[in-house]
Symmetry: C2
Subunit: 106 residues, 2 copies
């Protein structure tokens, strides 16, 4: 996303509640839905003790629109009711980006 | 870190090379070292297919100083030589932060 700087990142750090309770299916669905929103640039996710998911966007307006998406609002509500013990959401402006590739042909 | 906004985040997204090759020991050592640097605010890490580590800092100067720390420079060099197939490092300004806790007494 280097050509896009400055762009925006949403860092979503979570501690899950016990049990799946539909979480995995929702997570896949929300990722697929985010990918087709205007201004979407990318998505990365990893989980061990905590989960960290980062979505990247062209503008703050794109993030605001995604936040208000009806299916996403429903997922946010269920997240607070069932899926998460704790979460922190941070809206960030990506100022600079550096990359490294072992195999430069890639 | 809510009281600190705006503050700064370094999002480090990695794809590991095969084998440990001293990686786990170095990762623990670098986390401990980061925690005692000036301006350090927090650290979060998770790994599944990819790894995402985010460190939080009071200022861009604090990040620049940490980048130039001698032991950290050595870790960065070994990272490119042995530990990582690929990485992306993003320097971000955290504009807003929201939190949720299931148990408000926590």
């Amino acid at each position: 996303m280097k050509g896009f700087t400055p762009y925006y990142a949403v860092i979503f750090t979570t501690v899950r509640a016990e049990g799946d309770l539909g979480y995995a299916e929702m997570a896949d669905r929300m990722e697929a839905l985010a990918r087709v929103q205007p201004g979407f640039l990318g998505f990365e996710t990893a989980r061990s003790e905590i989960g960290i998911s980062v979505s990247y966007w062209k503008s703050l307006d794109d993030i605001a629109r995604w936040k208000e998406n009806a299916q996403h609002l429903e997922a946010q509500r269920t997240g607070r009711e069932k899926w998460y013990e704790h979460y922190t959401l941070r809206i960030c402006r990506v100022e600079r980006e550096y990359g490294f590739n072992r195999d430069p042909q890639e």
